[in-house]
Symmetry: C2
Subunit: 235 residues, 2 copies
């Protein structure tokens, strides 16, 4: 009965941590959304807010890492339970990095604003990759909330589209710069924004991989997509 | 006496894991070094080797994560001991990402080689940032091996120099591209390489921060350098 009580307590504490991770996920989604808005409408105040909000995200990362450590020490989880905690620790790291990338987008938006540089519709260039990545991040958090391995698999497949989209942007920007060298500086800034978005896609993919690790108990990091779909782990 | 025995066994297993992490560190240092060589002397074969070696690094990451989990479940560490395991798990993630960045450098080197694009001394542009970053990574691994908090603090301060160097490269490349738009594609590739190097510096900084977390028991992520030097943690 003590074991049973302890296990319930463990589940309760773990749920508390998972809720806070989802809260952190919501915070970085907002950061990402607002950073893109600041980039789209050339709004320096909004860019400042995104960068300021990163402090709260960073603090939450430290708090949640601590909570995970305490949970392990106090509740001494079984191998199975520990898998969830380990995956949660990794998800926290990825979410913090999403916040960092959103801040970079905001910083670039502000820099473009201050230099009054924009000579082409820079937001239009990253619109498609932004939407696809925002959806992917949202879906990854949703899969983490519901521990849904099936939708996690679909999310992982989406990362290829985002990489493809990034390469398209890169080619377009090169053409742009060659046609009018005066656009080079603004085009590079747009490329940095696209790169930050692509990285957010990578983090969303990582989160989806950790969901599969929890659900199916196999580590699919570094597997080819075909092997993942066929149910093979890394090794 | 059982506790004592168990604690010795724990120390022994932890040392085994730490040795393997240092082995992994040596592997990614070699990847980084060879990727830069491939970029310098335009060697596609060497670039291929770097990318192939990434498989072994990835496998080691999965194995080491597993070893850390097993250690926690079997030895049920105290809060103090757990801090070292948690930091080790984070160091493993950063090392794997260093391997990814080295692979990106190798891929760019190969792409430049295949397109026969190089019209300027591209390696010369990243030489300073490469050396500073290779030193920083080496020092970070050394600080992790010796759990040397003092040298970890010095490493963290070095990251600003690397960021400064990156911004210098960016300005130079913009000038380059504006003067001769035919260099745009090769200049962009050089910028991606510089960006990957800068990221490796970020990972070295992360590793140094985890060393301080183990040694001093405070979490200095997201602190201003002055606060770090003054002995304050995050919060």
């Amino acid at each position: 009965m003590v074991g049973d009580h302890s296990s319930k307590q463990y589940d309760h504490e773990l749920e508390g941590i998972r809720s806070k991770v989802l809260l952190m996920g919501g915070m970085v989604e907002t950061q990402f959304d607002e950073a893109l808005n600041a980039f789209r409408v050339d709004n320096a105040q909004l860019a400042d807010k995104v960068m300021a909000d990163d402090q709260a995200v960073n603090q939450l990362e430290v708090q949640l890492d601590d909570a995970c450590s305490h949970l392990i020490v106090r509740r001494q989880p079984t191998a199975n339970d520990l898998r969830t905690v380990m995956a949660t620790i990794k998800v926290i790291t990825d979410l913090e990095r999403v916040g960092d990338e959103a801040s970079k987008i905001a910083r670039t938006a502000k820099s473009l604003h201050e230099r009054g540089l924009v000579s082409f519709n820079h937001y239009d260039i990253v619109r498609t990759i932004s939407r696809a990545t925002a959806d992917m991040l949202h879906d990854a958090l949703d899969a983490f909330a519901r521990l849904d391995g099936k939708s996690a698999l679909q999310i992982i497949a989406q990362d290829d589209e985002i990489d493809y989209e990034f390469r398209t942007i890169l080619r377009n920007m090169i053409t742009f710069m060659m046609e009018d060298p005066r656009t080079i500086s603004a085009a590079l800034d747009t490329l940095w924004v696209a790169k930050a978005i692509e990285r957010i896609g990578d983090h969303a993919k990582n989160i989806a991989e950790y969901v599969i690790y929890v659900v199916e108990g196999r580590d699919i990091r570094h597997c080819k997509p075909a092997a993942v779909a066929a149910g093979k782990g890394a090794g």
